[in-house]
Amino acid sequence: MAEVIRHDLIIVGSGIAGLRAAVEAALVSKGKLDIAVISKVQINRSHSVCAEGGTAAVLYPNEGDSFLLHAWDTVKGSDFLADQDAVMRFVREMPKQIYQLEHWGMPWSRREDGRIAQRRFGGHTFPRATFAADKTGFFEMQTLWGVLQRFDNVTFYPEWMVTKLIIEDGRYKGLIALDIYNGTLHMFISKAAVWAAGGGMRMYSFTTYSLTATGDGFAIPYKAGLGLKDMEFVQFHPTGLIPPGILISEAARGEGGYLINNKGERFMKKYAPERMELAPRDIVSRAMMTEILEGRGFEGPNGLNYVHLDLTHLGKEKILERLPLIREVSIKYAGVDPIHDPIPVRPVAHYPMGGVKVDINGATEAVGLWAAGEVNSISLHGANRLGTNSTADCLVYGAITGREAALYAMEHDDFPEADIEYLKQEEKRIFDNLMGRESGEDAYHIRRELRATMDKSFYIYRNENDMKEGLKKILELKEKFEKVAVGDKDPIYNSDLVYTLEIENMLDAAEVIAVGALNRKESRGAHARTDYPERDDKNFLVHTVVHRTVDGPKITYEPVKILFWKPIVRKY
């Protein structure tokens, strides 16, 4: 039996939110706290590196931008489901985060006058997407990882996968994690923790996500009794590259790219005459799917029909300077050079608006546990997130939760106590059951079926019948999973075991998405139902919160905080 590992503060996840939380906690504690960062991947390789287009912040009020305008754009973009107190705090705290990263080394792109450059982005009235070429998230990760080396009170646990959160009577106590290198399970105890384990939509097959972004961040707190909020809202980014689904940044349209159907038309003029290609993502994605479904798309492989994203008129120089990654991946993965030819694209699963329910400080329902970044739902993004607000969310809420959790840990001298029985149960579940079975169901087969189900039933246009069938299938797959056998029995770096644990997490997260979607009988933001095509503010201007019970998921609804602007008809 391994011994219990203690740290004052544990941060789970090493993406932008996790690393930002770690820096803030290290700063606030002035070397007094013993801080740990646990990550399923190597510390600087989290999915945040894939963020491309930019980070939203009000930097130029003298040129017409304002906090209220950023707040309004975000609220309108959210289809009025965002909590307006959270939005207001977020826009207020954002500019400092940009300057902070800049001082640590972030290579933000520049204007001629030496100041930080910004570009246009979907749903934002002012060009406030702060960017570093088209690898913004990559550079944010690089900068945060770099500056963390200034502190010697942070211990890293790379390639340790958290399998369980220990929460008793509404109090966070610790967690259990698998050391992937050795195949051993360990119990961690800490006074406080920041849950920044990331979102992840790998339960879809056509997705922008890294292979490692599997929704663990949702499933583990859910199983520990915490509520998940607004999970039915899954963002489909308009431009996923055909065939792999790799993200083609919205920056491509921010810099002036056109969306073109097979008749050669810029079809967005029918759907958003004012904002055109730079309408919010839910609107652009629906427009593209309508074009494809009505036969104005191009035929693609495996049924992945598509439209064209045309950048050829931007010129070689602009593409090379502003969109180098877009060009690189188009050439490498689709054989298309955007300088000369249009890029084949189709809406792609990209971001969950929902997540672990938290308050305006990022505190979860469990005392001593905060959640930051994509994994939480404050709710800042409501029913549809604007591009560039997610990396911004990670920075602001990484810093807020890092500070809150560090202050909490400093105020408490004693560590919580947790029964070692938790570790024994987890060992039994993983080593005796999953790995102990000589034969059983194939986890990869379950994963393939789950992905096909999500792609079919919970894509852009949804309806009662498809979703009911989808949920039924998810429940069948969950049952099958009970008999899964891990094929590889070796303790050392057993990625077969890791993938299997991930698949279980995907199934749990998928079920909550399905249940939330079935019960929201309206169309709002990213949740579009053909059987209920209108927004219904009378019945559904509320957040869905799902808790796990012995009888399955239990839904409650909570009011939206509408402090400044009442909902209006959403047009662009």
Binding site: L27, V41, Q42, R45, S46, H47, C50, P61, N62, E63, G64, S66, L69, W72, D85, M88, V91, R92, E102, H103, W104, G105, P107, R110, E112, D113, G114, R115, A133, K135, F139, T143, W145, V147, Q149, Y181, S210, L211, P243, P244, I246, L247, E299, P301, E328, V329, K332, Y444, V486, G487, D488, I492, Y493, S495, Y499, I562, L563, F564, W565, K566
Partner: protein, 295 residues
């Protein structure tokens, strides 16, 4: 594009078993379609043929730096290597060289990361108050930005480290990545740590250890060119040795904002909830942000 032609390709994987510390080989036949990458093939093998094969992979788009392995003798990212572009019927895979083995294609990056972090991979400034509590950005023109930008694209994938002949013979050598990154910060007009940085690399295990093989630049998947950076780094060291001292003061903090012509005229709509003005005070948000008038 809708029809997939498939060609069977033989994969030979050089694996390492941590239990007995021995190498062994496994062979797999994979149906390869156009556009399929080596990482796709590894996933295919894992899902359909051999669940025990261990490898890493994450972003599958050449950004995270996770999946570096040796493919047909050359260090590459598995996710960026299209199988049919290799033009062979047999693909030979090995773990990266010059780093400790964990299992099969998995290596331990720890020594590599330790070196990368030893060179202080962050801006060094003297005014720590501004550093931790920023008021505005440090000014930097697009030309100044371009001087170091090329060297920021490093993924820390360790392909250069695996290809470097000096690293292979001298485990204390900092390696191409760390040296390149040192130059990246020296070339950054905001940095004030030139002398501190040079003190770390001005020795036989630093920039003088490089034998100019240039293998690092040849294998770099992002065209970062560490070999060039090392040459430029040596020039910086030489300048100091010859008594040429550049000013140590980095870029200045930008002046406060001047009132300029507004780029847009349409602001947010008026509040529609009663008591909103009062509520707004809690968030300390000015309705208009005070800016200095231009002279």
């Amino acid at each position: 594009m809708s029809k997939m032609e498939v060609k069977n390709i033989r994969f030979v994987v050089k694996r390492w078993d941590p239990k007995d510390g021995r190498f062994f080989e496994s062979e797999y036949t994979v149906p390869v379609y156009r556009g399929m990458t080596v990482l796709d093939a590894l996933i295919y093998i894992k899902e359909n043929i051999d669940k025990t094969l261990a490898f890493r992979g994450s972003c599958r788009m050449g950004v995270c730096g996770t999946c570096g392995i040796v493919i047909n003798g050359k260090p590459r990212l598995a996710c960026e290597t299209q199988i049919l572009h290799l033009n062979t019927d047999t693909v030979y895979l090995e773990p990266l060289h010059n780093l400790p083995l964990v299992k099969d294609l998995i290596i331990d990056h720890t020594p590599f990361f330790e070196k990368q972090n030893k060179i202080k991979p962050y801006l060094i400034r003297r005014d720590m108050e501004e550093y931790w509590n920023p008021t505005r950005e440090y000014l930097q023109t697009p030309e100044e930005h371009l001087r170091y930008m090329q060297f920021t694209y490093c993924l820390t994938c360790a392909l250069c480290y695996a290809a470097c002949p000096t690293t292979a013979t001298n485990p204390d050598f900092l390696g191409p990545q760390a040296l390149m990154n040192t130059y990246r910060f020296i070339a950054d007009s905001r940095d004030e740590g030139r002398l501190e940085r040079i003190a770390i690399i001005d020795n036989p295990d630093g920039c003088w250890g490089c034998h100019l093989a240039g293998a690092c630049s040849e294998v770099c998947p992002k065209g970062v060119d560490p070999a060039l950076a090392i040459q430029l780094l040596r020039r910086e060291v030489a300048k100091i040795a010859f008594g040429y001292v550049e000013p140590v003061e980095g870029a200045k903090v930008a002046p406060s904002l001047q009132l300029t012509e507004k780029r847009i005229t349409k602001g947010p709509p008026e509040f529609t909830v009663e008591g909103a003005e009062e509520k707004l005070k809690e968030f300390k948000i000015p309705k208009t942000i005070p800016v200095e008038k231009s002279k």
